[in-house]
């Protein structure tokens, strides 16, 4: 498995790169399952004994950057986040922090360097601890500041996230979702980490509140030099906030690139499908190009060969047998697709400024998707390269009854 700093390194500036803040090599995470006796007797377990949540992940988080980790359900992005932060141990693979290996079980000091912000603001704060008590506990445990300065430091942390001193005596239940996320960020920052892993931190928040938290992350990156790994599924947020994006599919990273480059020129069919699926907000802007077929796959049944091939409109025979590695396809741009170089140029959705009449769209849709026989195929403007029908016409990636 090639590292992400492969041949592309030659095109980077001459100054020697410091070690990335976080580097993951070959991470895997397999969950062993033991179905109950009843299930085994009824032979309904389909021979599932293990779930490969992560199947060989190489990733680098560079100093001072915001790297977005994008993927759908079953991609393994949450598992990867948990491993990076030390909440779960990987089945195999290495993790380095600034060049030094991170032990599998982290001690108090190692654990404070990498902190996490969780998705659900309602369960990430202990309802019985006041804000002040929560911060004080951490500050004292790690001896961040002398005891006499704990309160001052707590206030500083609160101000850093945009809250006032009177929050110290309040309990989490007295705050709104957005404020709670800010408290969660303050808590993470209390121990002075250099890496923040944010697991979908704005997904549970209202749109207008999301902006304040996103702003906060950008500010923390600027002012504190934090390196942030931002797990997200909202690609508009990702595009806005991150410098680089890594796309995950079924336990692997399938593409990594700088943000603008990834969205303008995606070099993996899955990324293309993702970009095509994003609903647009501009009046008149509608994306109709490509509807991805099938369901996000289950990590129980990873397809042989390229794991995306059953849903891929560009798949060829080779894709069914060869499992592509993440390889450089451009400066700082890696993709795990055998045909990355052969993909046609990406057609961005129509210019948002052009007006599209709603009526036309409706007629197009009627032709495409209302005919039951056609319902499984993707929408019409599909590049007609040699695309053999994927082996199993049933829903790929799910419980396939054929081998």
């Amino acid at each position: 498995m090639s590292s992400t700093t492969g041949p592309a390194a030659t095109t980077r500036p001459a100054t020697a790169l410091p070690d990335p803040v976080l580097r993951a090599s070959g991470l895997t995470k397999t969950y062993r399952l033991r179905p109950s006796l009843a299930t085994r007797l009824a032979r309904r377990d389909d021979g599932r004994t293990s779930l490969r949540a992560l199947d060989g992940v190489d990733l680098e988080l560079r100093q001072g950057e915001i790297l977005a980790l994008v993927g759908e359900s079953g991609s393994g992005k949450s598992t990867l986040a948990k491993i990076l932060v030390g909440g779960t141990t990987p089945t195999s693979g290495d993790l380095d922090h600034r060049g030094e290996a991170l032990p599998v079980r982290r001690d108090k000091d190692a654990s404070r360097r990498i902190q996490m912000v969780f998705q659900d603001p309602y369960s990430s704060l202990n309802p019985r601890l006041s804000v002040g008590a929560m911060l004080r506990e951490l500050l004292l445990l790690h001896q961040v500041v002398p005891r006499a300065e704990v309160r001052a430091e707590s206030v500083r942390l609160l101000n850093l996230v945009g809250l006032e001193e009177d929050a110290l005596d309040a309990y989490p239940s007295q705050f709104s979702g957005g404020q709670r996320q800010r408290l969660a960020i303050a808590r993470a920052l209390a121990v002075r980490p250099d890496v923040l892993i944010a697991d979908e931190p704005v997904s549970a928040l209202d749109v207008s509140v999301q902006a304040t938290i996103l702003d906060l992350f950008a500010r923390l990156q600027r002012e504190l030099g934090l390196s942030i790994l931002f797990v997200a599924h909202n690609l508009a947020v990702v595009q806005h906030l991150s410098q680089r994006v890594a796309v995950m599919y079924l336990g692997r990273i399938v593409e990594v690139a700088e943000t603008a480059e990834l969205f303008a020129n995606p070099r993996h069919p899955y990324t293309r499908a993702l970009v095509d699926s994003i609903p647009r907000m501009r009046a008149g802007s509608v994306n109709e190009e490509f509807v991805l077929d099938g369901e996000p796959p289950s990590p129980f049944d990873v397809p042989a060969g390229c794991r995306f091939h059953p849903r891929c409109p560009y798949a060829v025979e080779r894709c069914r047998t060869e499992d592509p590695a993440l390889a450089a396809v451009g400066a700082g741009h890696d993709s795990a697709c055998l045909r990355a170089a052969e993909l046609p140029p990406f057609q961005a959705p129509p210019d948002p400024a052009a007006s599209i009449d709603r009526v036309d769209v409706r007629e197009e849709l009627q032709d495409e998707t209302t005919d039951p026989a056609e319902v499984r195929g993707p929408a019409e403007p599909r590049h007609p390269e040699e695309h053999p029908s994927p082996g199993d016409p049933g829903t790929p990636g799910a419980r396939s009854t054929d081998a």
Partner: protein, 294 residues
Amino acid sequence: MSAPTAVLAARRQTRRAARSRSLRPWYRSGTLVAGLVIVGLLVLVAVLAPVIAPFDPVKQDLLNALQPPSGTHLLGTDKYGRDVLSRLIWGARVDLRVGFLAVLIPFVVGTVVGGVAGYAGGWLDTVLMRVVDVFFAFPFYVMVIVLVFVFGSGELSIYLAIAAVSWVSYAKIVRGEVLVAKEQDYVVAARLGGMSHARILVRHIGPNVLSQAIIYGMSDIVMDIMAIVTLGYLGLGIAPPTAEWGSMINDGQEFITTQWQQATVPGLVVVLTSLGLSWLGDGVSDLLSPERRK
């Protein structure tokens, strides 16, 4: 409002909002207040027994036995001439005290066992829970009566017997709560913050799971009072001549047709106590759960 003014106003709103969501005051809860009043009165009566009881509860006065209610003896006298009202008042001391104390050890033991089992998981959890299952299999009263026989009558053996049997409920409840709490993000965050397991169990998980145990404990006090009363009624409880509601019911039952108040009034008082404790438990549960849970 100019833009800067608006922003300032919004900031003010932000600051104020941190306090705007205050928690609903406890005195708003009808059940809690009712429970507190009843239990409070009973406790008061028990505490003030030496002062308010008109007669000595154990002193016999055979010449005055089985008097109907009158000016001097508001509830009459029992077969040994003892004033029923005084015995009732002094009995409160016994029943309430034993009820509260009998809950203490099961609470502590059960919580610790359940907490450790739930948090540790794995084989420890399995082993402990199988032990719990064994204890659960025995019917409460049967076990208690058997154990009291074994330990002999008296207050201490009541505590031992009840404790031996009822700790399992706490273990199950607390284990269930811990299993849930363990997965909450704030516990994960505490681990990531470098806190030891012990610290997490005590400081983080503990306060969040204890409320359920406390609520159960309230209803357990009721159960234990019933157990003591039953034991007393069966003659296995607190040794006579100590006044105790259960033994009063026992003593009074043969006179149910003539001096019915001897058995009935203590019975009603037991019911009232249970009601008060139940309401108190409900009120406390409301107080401890919804607002704080979020």
